[in-house]
């Protein structure tokens, strides 16, 4: 057992050295009205890795990942400053189409949110259909491959025409993952994807996250430190709108540089 | 923002702007066509009591009074009934029946006003109100409000107020009931825990908490009654002269318009009918504006729409 785990760790490490960065965040600040919630964030995220964001409630984790796909600006009075470079191009540059960015950087939310008035099938294909894709054969292929990637195909292949809301919570969340994958993103952002789920469903999603990194870069926000250590190659610890420490997961959990991090992971937080 | 997005916003904003535009149109278009009458009669348009097409004198004081008085009668009758009905439905009736009976009462609101008017004209006034009013006249005619020199017909101010009361009761009781439903159950329980009886809980906790809702229902009911045309036209007797007695035929702004628009020949007559409409618009606008200010603070979910 031990040996297998060590081997896995080694692999994780190797992978991350092989991959280049896909996202670089420079001097990112974000506000809700006058409330300054992200303060000078700098981080670079490697491709084909799982990066976890941990930190106490309200520290700005959700806000941070919502800045990565330009969802933050949809909140009334919300504001962003700084750069987010995706493959070297600043997504906040004038002339960049936010919808284009959102297709390249997909997102899965804390509470499963399938479109309740659409079938399982239409949910998966919503992103494509609403952008004008009509090729039936291609759509059917995407449907199957995305549901398979989300480990959901076997469970729903006979229920494709049922409402998305009729699935169980865990199935709904995997449906949302399949839906996000269908638009072929490069990066998948996940905001506490398991917090509304039971342990079995959580295990399934964790397994899925690890398998996804072969094709995608995953950034996952979590409250659960065991989860971070199980799935993530890298982990960032946030506190009061700042990134306190960012390192390989094993390093951050076993030998943190900062005292704040240590206090947080050992549960000695005031 | 991409062009495409801007267009969506412009598109929806353009449609939405129709709404303030429509409100402005009411005042501007109707106001413009009333101008002639206002210029000719000045303030006496509102304060004078003569409406005489052959002599081209048009004044609407009796109609303004008729509008306010008939609506006030309607409120006076409808308010206690609506509150009582809302109490029955929300406090005494089991929840299942309450929703069902509530729906039935709300269906009353869907009955077209011309059908109310017809029923009032052919059934309610001759078979019910007329005998009652006759009795009042015989026995209480020393009260000026109930006096009458000649016989009465039943088609008068009092009757139209009663029919209006029946018509505004559904909306008033729905608004009351909705605001009673919002009273937190913790408040009721707290009152019971202090040893209050049911009637005390209702009076203090429920009605006390829902005062705003009741006020809103008064404004809404009054607003509806002010503008109601068909039922009033069919029942009020349409007399052009002013009378202190509620048992005498009378007229409201709305019924005046309904009766006179066809006979309005010549610029000044047409302008005067439109000016009566402008007067009604202003009165109902004031009432509604006040109602909305109150209602906005309480976020009803639509019972006002029925």
């Amino acid at each position: 057992m031990m040996l297998v785990k060590e081997e896995q760790d080694k692999k994780k490490g190797e992978l991350s050295y092989l991959n280049g960065e896909i996202i670089r965040v420079e001097g990112l600040n974000a506000w809700y009205g006058k409330n300054h919630v992200l303060k000078d964030i700098n981080i670079s995220i490697n491709s084909n890795c799982v990066t976890a964001i941990i930190g106490p409630s309200g520290c700005g984790k959700s806000t941070f990942i919502r800045c990565l796909n330009r969802l933050h600006e949809l909140v009334p009075d919300a504001r962003v400053e700084g750069k987010v470079l995706l493959d070297g191009v600043n997504i906040y540059d004038e002339g960049i189409d936010p919808t284009e960015i959102r297709r390249r950087i997909g997102m899965v939310f804390q509470k499963p949110n399938p479109f309740p008035n659409m079938s399982v099938k239409d949910n998966v294909l919503a992103g494509l259909k609403f952008s004008g894709m009509k090729d039936r054969k291609k759509l059917d292929e995407v449907l199957r491959s995305c549901l398979e990637k989300a480990f959901l195909w076997d469970e729903v292949k006979d229920k494709l025409d049922l409402s998305g809301a009729s699935l169980s919570g865990g199935q709904q969340q995997r449906l949302c993952i399949a839906r996000a994958l269908a638009v072929e993103p490069e990066v998948l952002l996940m905001d506490e994807p398991c917090s509304a789920l039971d342990p079995t469903a959580t295990a399934k999603i964790e397994e899925l996250i690890i398998s996804l990194k072969r094709e995608y870069t995953v950034v996952v926000v979590t409250h659960n430190m065991q989860q971070a250590s199980r799935v993530a190659d890298y982990t960032a610890f946030m506190y009061l709108g700042k990134i306190i420490e960012y390192d390989k997961t094993t390093k951050l959990f076993e030998n943190p540089r900062e005292e704040l991090t240590e206090r947080y992971i050992t549960g000695k937080f005031g | 923002m991409k062009l495409n997005e801007k267009y969506l916003k412009y598109f929806l904003t353009a449609f939405a702007s129709f709404i303030p535009f429509l409100l402005a149109l009411y005042f501007i278009a109707i106001g413009k066509d009333s101008l002639l009458a206002f210029q000719k009669f000045g303030i006496s348009f509102f304060l004078g009591s003569t409406w005489n097409p052959p002599r081209e004198i048009f004044q609407v004081f009796p109609e303004i009074m008729g509008t306010l008085v008939s609506s006030a009668i309607a409120l006076l009758i409808s308010l206690p009934v609506s509150i009582g009905l809302a109490i029955f439905l929300s406090e005494f009736c089991p929840r299942r029946f309450s929703d069902f009976l509530g729906s039935i009462v709300e269906l009353l609101a869907a009955v077209p006003s011309v059908v109310y008017g017809f029923w009032g004209l052919a059934v309610f006034v001759p078979y019910f109100l007329y005998p009652v009013e006759n009795f009042l006249k015989e026995n209480l005619s020393f009260i000026p409000l109930l006096s009458s020199n000649d016989g009465i017909t039943g088609y008068n101010m009092l009757s139209s107020g009663v029919v209006l009361a029946i018509m505004i009761m559904p909306i008033m009781s729905s608004v009351c009931r909705e605001s009673f439903l919002y009273v937190p159950s913790s408040l009721r329980e707290a009152a019971y825990a202090l040893g209050a009886t049911k009637s005390e809980v209702i009076r203090k906790a429920v009605i006390g908490y829902a005062k705003q809702g009741i006020a809103a229902s008064v404004f809404l009911g009054f607003g509806r009654a002010l503008g109601e045309t068909m039922a009033v036209t069919m029942i009020i007797g349409n007399a052009l002269q002013f009378s202190y007695s509620l048992l005498m035929p009378s007229q409201t702004l709305a019924s005046l318009i309904a009766n006179q628009y066809a006979e309005a020949i010549g610029e000044i007559a047409i302008s005067s009918v439109i000016a009566a409409g402008f007067t009604l618009l202003v009165i109902s606008f004031i009432i509604n504006f006040a109602a909305r200010i109150i209602l906005r603070r309480m976020r009803l979910r639509g019972s006002e729409l029925i």
Binding site: N69, L71, L74, P76, R102, G106, F109, N113, A126, G127, F130, A180, V183 | E5, L8, L12, T13, F15, I19, P20, L25, Y26, A29, I30, I83, G84, L85, F92, D99, S103, I104, V105, L108, A110, V111, V114, V115, G117, F118, W119, L121, A122, V123, P170, E178, T197, K198, S199, G227, M230, M234, I257, I274, L280, S284, F289, L295, G302, E304, L305
Partner: protein
């Protein structure tokens, strides 16, 4: 203590009495309309135009007129109402959106006869004729605030997570709005039906726009009769055969209007009970 108990009983008595006072008129109206109307309604009453003498014949022209005016009203009221409601709900953070919402509430309270006067002065006077078109426009203006408010309310009821899910898929805002509308369609449909029921039952704004007519329906730019105008004119005619025809027309109208209202309740199933 005894006094308090008596008070309790009095309250119960008072509220039951109020309930009876409220429902007795409903049953009376329905009973009279049904019993007087049923004997009048037959196939020729529904399918024939009024006879040239003015008495006898049927109400076909009024039924057609009601449908035509309500159809025109729908063309005016439904698109404007849905678009304005979508604006109010989807741009609700903007100040102007709150202004529009407030004004639609105020419009809801404008007496319908005043709408008739507006259309009279804008449409009838400029076309120099009373017409089905003018009547339809007047009813449409009455529908606008009802459809607007119900659309805005039911779209605002759609959880934000649906919008975020759509945006996160890179779906454009115009499509996101379409998704929200489709999620709110039960409530929007209820609102449309409610507005249709209201428009079908209106009389006052038609007096000085559609005017009414004895003749068969003969075009949008001609005066037209509707069920409600027929009921009003016949009921007040003092002519017994016409009055009994008015009962028949009332029954037809009541079936249409209450049918639509029951449809609202059926579609809405409680959640949009009031809409």
């Amino acid at each position: 203590m005894i006094k308090r108990k008596i008070y309790d009983k009095l309250f119960l008595f008072f509220s039951v009495a109020a309930f009876l006072v409220a429902v007795v008129p409903l049953f009376s109206i329905i009973a009279y309309v049904v019993s007087n109307g049923l004997s009048v309604i037959n196939l020729s009453f529904l399918t024939e135009d009024p006879s040239a003498t003015g008495v006898g014949g049927g109400i076909a022209n009024s039924i057609v007129g009601s449908f035509v005016t309500v159809a025109i009203a729908s063309l005016v009221g439904i698109p404007i109402g849905i678009a304005a409601g979508a604006y109010i709900s989807e741009f609700r953070s903007e100040r102007y959106s709150r202004v529009v919402r407030f004004v639609s509430d105020v419009l809801l309270g404008v007496p319908s006869i005043v709408t008739g006067i507006l259309v009279y002065s804008l449409v009838v006077l400029s076309l120099h004729t009373f017409s089905a078109l003018a009547g339809g426009i007047a009813l449409g203006l009455i529908m606008v605030p009802i459809v607007t408010i119900t659309t805005a309310e039911s779209m605002a009821f759609v959880p934000n997570s649906i919008r975020e899910a759509a945006y996160a898929l890179g779906i454009r805002r115009i499509r996101v709005v379409a998704i929200v509308i489709s999620n709110a369609k039960g409530g929007i449909l209820s609102g449309i039906l409610l507005a249709l029921a209201r428009a079908s039952g209106e009389t006052a704004p038609l007096l000085m726009t559609a005017l009414g007519s004895q003749l068969p329906f003969s075009g949008l730019l001609k005066p037209v009769n509707t069920l409600t105008l027929f009921i009003f004119n016949s009921a007040t005619s003092g002519n017994p055969p016409l009055v009994s025809q008015a009962w028949g027309a009332s029954l037809v109208l009541l079936l249409i209007v209450l049918g639509i209202s029951l449809g609202v309740r059926f579609i809405a199933k409680g959640r949009y009970r009031y809409l």
